[in-house]
Amino acid sequence: MFSLYKKELRSYYCSPFAYVIAALFLLVFSLSFINGISNLSGNQFKFSFPNVFYNNFFYFIFLIPALTMRTFADERKGGTEVLLMTSPLNVFQIVIAKFLAVSTVFLMMLVLTLFYPLITVLTGEVVWSSLICGYLGFFLWGLVCIAVGILMSSFTESPIIAAILGEGAMIILIFIDNFKDSGLFTNLPKVAQIIGSFSTQERFVSFSQGLFSIADLIFFITATILFVGFTIISVEKRRWSRG
């Protein structure tokens, strides 16, 4: 399993792939950071990391699927799926190895952004609780996105379609809040409540405000496990129905 993990990591870092995405991520992160600072001059806004995180929350819609689109789609396209499936590894191990590899790449991206708080600490002040929780929320949300992205990649042979499906799924996950608040459910508070329990935005906001809640933590973790579980089922199912 470790071999597969290593090979996956290598496929990211021995090609321009991970670097391009990390660069793009840093670019959008920088932009929101600079935006935050430039607003300071108006003296009406306070610069805070939660805002920066909140802006970047949305960029994941296209960043993460780009990272995950190849995981299973490429294996299937290149015929290398056979190698994995006929090795003594089981589907669970294969999916976990791939998930961990993408998570590692993502973690490295996050580590790179520590640069910004570092500058802030040197020249100003940071609210530690908010920063740490913000990062935690960011990371957990990233894991959910990765799990969704890998699941979408296991549905298709084409990485492009996998990326588009992933983007679609993430848009649904993020904008479920707006859907809940829409006029459709004004008379159906119960339904709105049920839909609301799936909302990710609110939970993320509470994290980025420095509020740590076990319920939110569990929500993100179970969502990740759920999507990883679906991926295992989907890969296994493909074996049965292929032809």
Partner: protein, 342 residues
């Protein structure tokens, strides 16, 4: 020993493989023959545990591939039709990775990789990206992958596709040399290849087994008659009549037009000696003989006969009988069975 029992695989409503049963004995090379789309690759994919079967069992050395996959898979080295190589990896790197996922101990990996590369003669490209290798080299890298970990059973799906003639011979010799420690299933639609390396063959067509036997038995089952191929100048009907008059001629199977006034005749005869008599008769009548050669029925003919039929529910015995008696109702039979299918 690999035992395959009543293996059936449906793709949706289409049966790719129907009720396949055969056994592969230890240290033998079993040829797996069939025309394109006969179900060879499907069967191999099921044996290696890549695809699940709809029904039926495959046991590898007593272990069921569906019940005990990780243990059973450790004993198999598989080279699929398309070599499962990562184009963005280097040869050695790829083989090390493959050794890793096969669960070979870290300390043994380098040595295993080295010996596999030596056997397949890919040492000179070990540092190159697989993307930049030719089809033949990729095929050999895939083959090397199958050898990692010295698996007891090797399943090779058309291992010589894309190789040049010299490499084909090298790979065939390699397969023969592997026989000492391995049991090999080799699929191919190249008959010469099967004939060169296998002792026993399984012939399948339309997902059904047509024959499981040694090559020699199959050839013998075609009968002892000899087919004489003669190219003769002269009127077609007159020549045919002249040949038919000779005693010992069983019949003329085929007359092929070559040029105006020249035809090639395929004459089935009982014994080699009759050849002289036929020639004498022909010369007496002033026909000019351009070419004479004799053919023994070979695996190719067995293959063509067995696989050209529409799918039928028939035992092996019936099939062999049918081959013996040069069945004149052959075509009628084919039509009726097609109707049954509809």
């Amino acid at each position: 020993m690999i035992q395959i029992k009543n293996l059936t695989k449906f793709y949706g409503r289409n049966a790719a493989v129907k009720n396949l049963s055969f056994t592969v004995n230890d240290n033998e090379i079993l040829g797996f023959l069939g025309p394109n789309g006969a179900g060879k690759s499907t069967t191999m994919n099921i044996i290696t545990g890549f695809l699940p079967s709809t029904s039926g069992t495959v046991t590898i050395n007593g272990l069921d591939i569906a019940e005990n996959p990780s243990e059973a898979k450790k004993m198999i080295g598989y080279l699929p039709e398309i070599p499962p190589v990562y184009l963005d990896m280097k040869v050695k790197e790829y083989l090390k990775f493959a050794a890793g996922i096969k669960g070979i101990k870290r300390s043994e990996r380098s040595q295993q990789v080295e010996s596999a590369m030596e056997k397949l003669k890919i040492k000179d490209v070990e540092k190159r990206l697989i993307r930049n290798l030719s089809k033949g080299y990729r095929q050999r890298v895939g083959f090397a992958q199958a050898l990692l970990g010295d698996p007891k059973y090797l399943i090779l799906d058309e291992p010589t596709v894309g190789l040049d003639p010299n490499q084909v011979i090298e790979v065939r010799n390699l397969i023969k040399s592997l026989k000492k420690d391995h049991t090999i299933i080799l699929s191919s639609h190249i008959l010469a290849e099967i004939q060169a390396v296998c002792e026993r063959v399984v012939i399948i067509s339309h997902g059904e087994i047509r024959a499981v036997d040694s090559i020699k038995n199959l050839e013998d089952s075609m009968g002892n008659s000899i087919v004489l191929v003669m190219k003769i100048e002269g009127d077609k009907d007159a020549v045919a009549e002249c040949i038919k008059k000779v005693s010992g001629v069983l019949g003329i199977n085929d007359i092929i037009f070559e040029e105006t006034g020249i035809h090639t005749y395929k004459i089935e005869i009982e014994k080699e000696d009759i050849r002289k008599t036929i020639m004498a008769e022909l010369i007496k009548k002033d026909f000019v003989i351009d070419e004479v050669k004799s053919e023994k029925p070979n695996l190719e003919e067995v293959f063509v006969k067995l696989t050209a039929q529409a799918p039928k529910k028939k035992g092996l015995k019936d099939l062999l009988n049918e081959m013996d008696s040069n069945n004149p109702y052959y075509n009628d039979d084919l039509d009726s069975s097609e109707k049954e299918d509809e």
